[in-house]
């Protein structure tokens, strides 16, 4: 009985830890190393990184709930289309994936001269859990460098390209 209680407590602690981890990934922002003539205002940089990090929440929710419409707020263009395609794929196969970002190391690398795009690189640590008909198949930790292009919309920056680099 005591043993059972101990297991429960450990489980609860682990759950709480997982919950905290779910809510907040660690974020490190490197000083911008901007390729381009346009000066990058501090507020713009902050807004871009904030909107980009929020996009991971949308991405995670969209894959988790099989709802491509949840991408609309933060993704646009090819990035939105490709993510939506993946959600359609998994939905058709009754497969589901859960993405949980753990750490980001972000650096702005390009600000196009006309101000209509910002490219950043993000070295991300995240977990992917795969399930088939709600049966867990496994969770894989992934470490990857992403190249991300964001473009401005009426209220925020939205992700237009989200691509992990090979190797």
């Amino acid at each position: 009985m005591i043993r059972f209680k101990a297991i429960l407590m450990i489980g609860a602690l682990a759950g709480a830890t997982a919950g905290v981890a779910l809510a907040q990934a660690t974020v490190k922002v490197e000083p911008a190393s901007v390729n381009g003539p346009r000066p990058l205002a501090e507020q713009t940089a902050q807004a871009v990184i904030r909107d980009y990090l929020e996009s991971w929440q949308s991405l995670s929710a969209a894959f988790d709930q099989d709802r491509a419409d949840l991408l609309d707020a933060d993704f646009v263009g090819d990035a939105r289309d490709k993510l939506a395609q993946a959600i359609r794929d998994q939905s058709q196969m009754a497969v589901s994936t859960r993405y949980q970002d753990r750490a980001h190391d972000v650096q702005i690398v390009f600000y196009s001269p006309e101000g209509l795009s910002i490219e950043l690189s993000d070295t991300v640590d995240y977990d992917v859990q795969l399930m088939d008909h709600d049966k867990p198949l496994g969770t894989q930790h992934v470490h990857a460098r992403y190249l991300v292009v964001l473009t401005p919309s009426e209220l925020q920056w939205r992700v237009r390209i989200l691509q992990a680099q090979a190797g």
Partner: protein
Amino acid sequence: MSDGSENGGAMLAVVLIAATIAFVVIGTMWPTKAALAYTGGQGLTSSSSTPEAAVQNLGDEIRASAWQKAYDGLANKAQFTEQEFEHDLKGYYPSLRTYATLDRFEVFPLHASDSDAEVRLKLYWSSVVGISEGTRDLHVVRAGDRWQVEWPIVKKPVVPPQVIPVNYLRWDVIYRGAGDDWGAQDVEAPHVRIVDMRPVERAEGVVILGELLNEDVVPAYVSVNATLIGKNQQPIATEGSFDKISHLLLPKQVTPFLINFPNATLADVGSVRMTPFSTLVPASADPVIEIDNEKLNPAPDASLTGQVINQSGQVVNVAHVLGTFYDSTGHLVWVADEYLDRALLPQTPESFNIHIPEDLARQISSERTIVSTYSSGGSV
């Protein structure tokens, strides 16, 4: 069931019926405000026993759009038809006045004798763009025991037969269809610039005055927003120029703008953030409007008066005159406007009168006037 109480019952019936009739009579003889709203302000007890009462009745009838009744009561109705009378008030061509309703009116006696009188009738028309005023000085004559109005009819203006070539420029825009436009050929918005801006404190709040220039080579559809930023760097309020601007600017054209911030005080404002918007739109350089005889009239009743002349062959249904006022050093002092509620016919002058606040009139030494127009199509 009838018993000794039948007499009392009969009395009750009589009392209730009598009271009902009395209430109806009272309500009809002295209608409530809510009821009067549906009669154009007229009760049953209108009489024309004085010159003012005759004009008051006429005003009520115009307000109720009771054209026939109003026309029938005129002393000089033989000089024009009922239709001409109605058109005189509502316009011969579609204009703001055509669809306006008389919101209220005021009657001012000017002169009176036993047989005739002069009475001023000030009419406040409710149009889609706001209240517009009109004044008629009426000659009222005695006819037996009542008075009748002689209506100073203004007959339909006659435009002489002529040929007016329409050869002005027009810009068309080919828009991209719906869809993602990133990284595709685009035509950007026209370049506009705020060339002057000044915040002013007025009794009703803070007013932002300014001028906006289209410095591009294409027409621009413009508007200006202003945000008052408090001394703590927090926004206080955001307002737009709304109709106190000429939204269509041809290349190198300048418009004044005025933005109202009711209930704000300048003392609370740390800075003002101006946001001009411009969009590329199809436009025509026609009609060209000439502004003649502009004159600054000093206080009291300070105003800018003049005439606008439509140099094109197209009827302009609504004209909006915007005046920009400067002091002797060329600084912006005020922006004011007036809608003309009569259509502008080709080559036919139409007067305007823009009111200037008395306290500012003394500072004003020069002005610039522009006209924006609305046409629903068609020519004379």
